[in-house]
Assembly symmetry: C2
Homo-oligomer: 96 residues x 2
Amino acid sequence: MIIHTALFRLKHANGSAQEAAVLKAADILVAIPGVENFQKLRQVSAKNEFTFCFSMEFNSQKEYDFYNVHPDHVAFVQGKWIPEVANFMEVDYVKI
Amino acid sequence: MIIHTALFRLKHANGSAQEAAVLKAADILVAIPGVENFQKLRQVSAKNEFTFCFSMEFNSQKEYDFYNVHPDHVAFVQGKWIPEVANFMEVDYVKI
């Protein structure tokens, strides 16, 4: 099992309608086959620059690869992520 | 509920006995009152520099504050974390 997380900070103001729209648009990702335990998280530590995180789980690299190239994911990245995210970092985990 | 994570990279070689010793030493943190769902994770994305993560949950800021100043946590930070961690980043989450 792979836990995939994307930490990010939006170009939009905290609490803005544009911010809410990006978070809402991410709902399209939940329905992609292989995506499990999708979570939208607020990053609250003052020790880094990020303000949100999307977290999801894949059973294996096969499902992760399928997600990466899925049209709904690609459309989200092109339509919302690239134009509206100011900075991000991807972090992936496996349990030890 | 607050999810507290500490991403890190050790000064030690991958798979070394020193690496295993640091991971083992972190077991002391599990017993600190208020620490829930403690997990040791391997960071596997090539898109950041970190190789491990400790993750835990606190019911509220009260338990988080208790953990931060707990002697077992302070001793771990002083004895293992500061001397043996090359780089780290703390990331904390709350569910949206």
